[in-house]
Amino acid sequence: MTHRSKAGGRVLSVDALARVEGEGAMHVRIDGGAVTDVALRIVEPPRFFEAFLRGRAWTEPPDITARICGICPVAYQMSACAAIEDACGVSVPTEIAALRRLLYCGEWIESHALHIFFLHAPDFLGYDGAIEMARDHGDIVGRGLAIKRAGNALLTVLGGRSVHPINVRVGGFYRLPGSDELAGLRPMLLAARGAAIETVRLVAGFDFPDFTQPHEFLALRPAEGRYPLEAGSIVTSGGLAFDVSAFDTHVVEEHLERSNALHARLHGRGPYVVGPLARYSLCSDLLSPLAATAAAEAGLGVECRNPFRSIVVRAVELVEALDEAVRLIDSYAGAPAPYVEVPARAGTGYGATEAPRGLLYHRYSLDAEGRILDAKIVPPTSQNQASMEADLRAFVQARLDLDDDELTRQCEMAIRNYDPCISCATHFLDLTLERTAG
Amino acid sequence: MPNQSTGTEAVLDLPGLQALVDALAATHTVIGPQVSDGAIVLGPLARVDQLPVGMGDDQDAGSYRLRERTDRAVFGYAASAVPAKRWVFPPREPMSRTHDDGTTVSVEPVLARPQRPVALFGVRSCDLAALAVHDRALLARPVPDPWYAQRRAGLFIVVAACTTPARSCFCVSMGTGPAPGAGFDLSLTELVEGEHRFLVTSGSPAGEQLLARLPTRAADTVDRSAADAALRQAAESMTRAMPTDGLAALLLGQPEHPAWAEVAQRCLACGNCTLACPTCFCTSIVETAELGSPVSERARVWDSCFTADFSHMHGGSVRTGISARYRQWMTHKLGAWVEQFGVSGCVGCGRCITWCPVGIDITEQARALARPAGQEPRERKP
């Protein structure tokens, strides 16, 4: 980390952001008491997923796109399956949908626990990282590890392994779990649910900067039932409501001259935010009673507009995911078959699910043999990019009196609020690097 | 050990078979055939209806498919996909545990007495023969395998004579089937013509005692001749044979025969044949220690002479090429084995043929070695 002062101005610069997934850098320029430039710069190399999906078979995106992100591979698998099944005109039976939801709970539990305890909490408690934090707060880190372990156990039973699960296929699963296998997870999940409720209490007591933002929230909202995870249509806090298939007409990616990044915006409306704050603010009425109680106890209202309090919302979502996992396990009575056939046909399909850090959109066009003609993937971090920079701008402007060290630390924290997944996001970024012939 | 009281023959019906399973289950963990993952495997068995009722198998080089039979036979298939060895010679066997706290070091053997002995139910003659091979390779040794000894000692064996061999089978040529040899406690011959019944024969005092407690009727000449006919027909229907004449010498004497290089073109060195083989017993000793724990464990894990690591000495692998590894396996199995243990390592079950992902046929390979070097190899099957 470096920071330096210049005559007449200040530049805050973090070359390598810590405790985020992937490699990013942050750059804030202050001139004459005003923030003149804010850039979240991604140094993660591009990996061209949409390009090499072209020509692949329609059955392959769950395995291929999982590799975009090791933290939220299930999100990629779920959105990919949804989009391809949409293209092929197949919908899966409710039992399969329930198992997908259960698998997704595993990822939420694992990812949220990682973010809360390993990436975010050390900011509030004043440590460089969780391992340093463990020396003084072994109980807290231990609790986080226990919750994370429960999420990973669920992922492992249902997905085969927690990173890049192998059991997901277009149309369902390769193998159904045994009821006994799932029931065996119950005690661990119940314990973790208790630990998650404790976690809500813990993080609700952190010191939060007084900072709210007027962003438009965007999330999935299921037509009926429960908190959004693997299905739903899109709603925004500005009152928009549209089907996932209309995502491309409502969301545009703009290239701003002052930034190296493409910023997703709602057509004619501006930047928006996806992720826990958006989900909570748009769907808090759908929380399970247990999660709703935890949220109320933590003092969260019907919506939450302070990005720093996202850690509280994540904790509430942990309770929700664990509670939902237990409910799904209890109601699991097998399925007629592990998967339904998804025959290829020509067409375009759209899929969106709620990754732990926000809505993840996939679109595929197939030919009659199922070869992929075109693919588009919009990850959550891409959508939040503009808001993250806007947060930084507003946040820094109000705290110019802080010294560089503290301001830098708080800026990093402001970025971590979003749990940015830079590995996911690389394909949307422009990098100012010179071209080199390989 | 010969005993006057064995050799009793009687007839069991299907409920009687359940009575047999129940009787075994009272004292043993019963392991028997059942359908799982598209194949007949061996696993814990409680009820007769778990058996592969009405199921047969089509097995040939590199291919296995379940097939529905037209009758309700429960033993109407050939060798199970999983050999019985894992219940006496498990894939991973902890051997010893070392406690090292920095000042004192102690080593303790790990010899978990099985809670209950195992009863192998419905295994085939080839499996029985394989156990006899293991007895020689693992027990009749200067240092016997204590874990095998212990599991083997309590073993109760109900063998099911094989009446429907697969295309991959060649036990007749190895002299190991289809009728079971010695070493079983009870033997069953299934008769599906007419009344569905099982001719049961005792082969040990323990078998004799158990048989006496089962609801049987006496066997008559009709039962006996039906069983004989079924086994004779099974033997006659066997299409594969191992050319055993002078085979050991052919193998041991021709390490440079071009057939080794030819088979190496096809062989994937994946190790499937060795691990599907009911007699292969090669293992590696692995040591595991958890970070920060004073306890380390040594365990024995199945290994295969087809892996590069298997013959690793400091500096490198002795058998770097696939041809050398295939030669090692086959030469050992059918040649050196005889010198080491006084018996062939092959029982003719055909599992190495069926479960080879590219369908390499050990009997064909044996014939290739009989071909004078320099003669054109046969065309590879498309």
């Binding site: - | 050990m1 051997m95 010893s96 070392t98 090292d100 004192t104 070091v105 102690s106 080593v107 303790e108 053997p109 010899l111 693992l138 027990l139 040794r141 200067p142 240092v143 016997p144 395998d145 204590p146 874990w147 000894a149 212990q150 000692a153 041991l252 390490p255 440079e256 017993f281 090669c282 293992t283 590696s284 000793i285 040591e287 220690a289 380390s296 024995r300 290994d303 002479c305 298997f310 013959s311 690793h312 000495m313 400091h314 500096g315 002795v318 058998r319 770097t320 090429g321 050398a324 090692q328 030469t331 050992h332 040649g335 050196a336 010198e339 080491q340």
Partner: protein, 290 residues
């Protein structure tokens, strides 16, 4: 319990006891570690509990480090004084590195001794020729010590030793002592030497001088290629193959012929060897990748 059941149970207990004795190691404490060369040390071990390890010259043990693993190492100590169990270990891999790094007081695990010995006594009344190459001197040291302990029973005793460089010579002090003896002929040769080396440079085979073929028992240990050449030379000089003994090396792991790693066609090197009569293994050594 019936009589036969009791018998069977006693048989089982005996089988299990014999098996465990061979397969479960005993802890031994390092008494001393002496550096022989840059990469080789000689460890002197004593049992933590129980009696000392009786062994025959030429046998090996499975020497281990708790939590790391075990490797076959020839015993290099004096068979007539088994209280000091010695192994000379070259640091060539993970486990041998851990063993070679052991210091006095550390505890190692030992299984064995395993395998056949040199059968030194078979040479009584005749000449004994020892040919060693490199680390191969280690398993021959017990043979030489046994010969010297009963020196009067033999006619000539000769040690021919080839090493890579003068710095790689094992047991250098002891060798100097042996060279001073009148009842033992010692010849050394190295592959590479600086001019300060006053000894011979060249192959160990070149050291083989006149032998009385029919009365000579030859004990040979070294890299397999070296043993092939030495055997060829001895056969050329008329020593019968049955009187040439070679110590083979393969990937011994269980030590008792149960794991299959060290098979050399029909032989288990751990059980039937490591010391073989040359006529038993010459043909096998000629086959590539056997």
């Amino acid at each position: 319990m019936s009589e036969s059941a009791q018998e069977a149970s006693a048989d089982l207990d005996a089988l299990v006891a014999t098996g465990l004795a061979g397969l479960v190691p005993r802890p031994f404490r390092v008494d001393r570690s002496r550096r022989e060369t840059a990469d080789t040390v000689t460890l002197t071990l004593a049992p933590v509990t129980g009696g000392s390890l009786e062994f025959a010259a030429g046998q090996f043990t499975m020497l281990g480090v708790p939590g790391v693993g075990e490797v076959p190492i020839s015993i290099s100590g004096d068979p007539t004084w088994p209280d000091a169990l010695q192994h000379t270990v070259r640091d060539v891999g993970g486990v041998s590195h851990a063993i070679a790094s052991a210091r006095a007081g550390d505890v190692l695990t030992v299984r064995g001794p395993f395998g056949t010995g040199w059968g030194v006594g078979d040479g009584e009344g005749g000449d004994v020729l020892i040919v060693a190459g490199g680390i191969g001197l280690a398993p021959l040291r017990p043979a030489l010590l046994e010969l010297l302990a009963h020196r009067h029973r033999y006619r000539t005793v000769t040690l021919l030793y080839g090493a890579r460089t003068p710095q790689d010579i094992l047991f250098a002090e002891e060798l100097a002592g042996w060279r001073g003896r009148f009842d033992l002929e010692v010849e050394l040769s190295v592959d590479y030497a600086p001019p300060s080396w006053r000894g011979r440079v060249g192959l160990v085979t070149a050291l083989i001088a006149s032998v009385a073929p029919e009365q000579t028992l030859a004990l040979v240990c070294g890299p397999e290629v070296m043993m092939r050449f030495v055997t060829t030379e001895l056969l050329h000089r008329g020593v019968p193959a049955g009187q040439i003994r070679l110590s083979m090396e393969r990937a011994m792991s269980c030590g008792v012929g149960l794991c299959g790693h060290c098979q050399l066609r029909e032989l288990f090197v751990c059980l039937d060897g490591p010391v073989f009569r040359a006529d038993r293994v010459l043909g096998l050594m000629a086959v590539e990748e056997l």
